[in-house]
Symmetry: C2
Subunit: 167 residues, 2 copies
Amino acid sequence: MKHKSFGNMQCPIARSLERVGEWWSILILRDAFNGLKRFDEFQTNLGIAPAMLTRRLKALVDAGLLEKHRYSEHPPRDEYLLTPRGRDFQPVLIALMAWGNAHFTPEGKSVIVVDTRTGREAEPVMVDRASGLPLSDPVFRKMPGPAADERTRRRHGGRPATREQRQ
Amino acid sequence: MKHKSFGNMQCPIARSLERVGEWWSILILRDAFNGLKRFDEFQTNLGIAPAMLTRRLKALVDAGLLEKHRYSEHPPRDEYLLTPRGRDFQPVLIALMAWGNAHFTPEGKSVIVVDTRTGREAEPVMVDRASGLPLSDPVFRKMPGPAADERTRRRHGGRPATREQRQ
DNA sequence: CAGTATCCTGTCCGATACTG
DNA sequence: CAGTATCGGACAGGATACTG
């Protein structure tokens, strides 16, 4: 499934999934954001088979999300650190967390984001940076970008805004 | 893999992945947001095998993200519509799109979000609704929530904020 | 501690053919 | 059109044993 070709490979969502589509990848990134760095930390916290962990870590390194950093020469020891690209993944994790908290935690939230200045729980929302408006607002629409090919253009640009277009 | 038990199943991210962890699920949701509703529309646009599409659609319906809606009795015809829970998934898609656009589209962006009032491209950011601050700001930290169990508490609450805690 | 080496199973997924 | 029925391959992932 490494280089599977989804319907439209121009789509940035599909391209993202090529890198983090496997179950464990996102959980490893989550743990990396929580400060885990060493093989053994991941292994223990995730309960993942070591061979699988090796494969997933390698894939994440190859995709440029993590980088191996040697912190000891004798014996040779590496730790796995988030790259800038890996750190940019944070909004996806937050969005998944918020969605999970909202819909799949009948007992209540187990993990939240907190504003450490006020102690208040943060409420994650996706907004447009310039206007501050939530992107769920109907004024926002997906459109073909500058590099859109013919197919993408047809998919996103061709039709007028119909009721099912957004929301 | 249906009911696999990840390391910590309290984690809302892991719970989310239980519902949308498969490759096709997220692409189907993306298409649903783009207005696709009928089996054949998904099939054609994704290039997915029909049997697989049936399984994924069923899984999404079972998870409460889509619902079958009969729009014709003779012959019986169903369409798949986003439920409120499915619509709440939008931020995840936007986050994946933004990340893909930023890192995996050397030719430029193929799909963007546009403010239809101004025609300007939106820049998606995750913020705290109350303060409007980006959640990447170091004042925000993940913490155990009200329903956190002992293990989650140890993972998130136990340690003081170290340099690797956030970022 | 940080992996590698094997073996095995489940299932995701593609391809093709068929049905009301 | 909206699926169901099979078949088969690839690989994610588990389990266990082993190494520098």
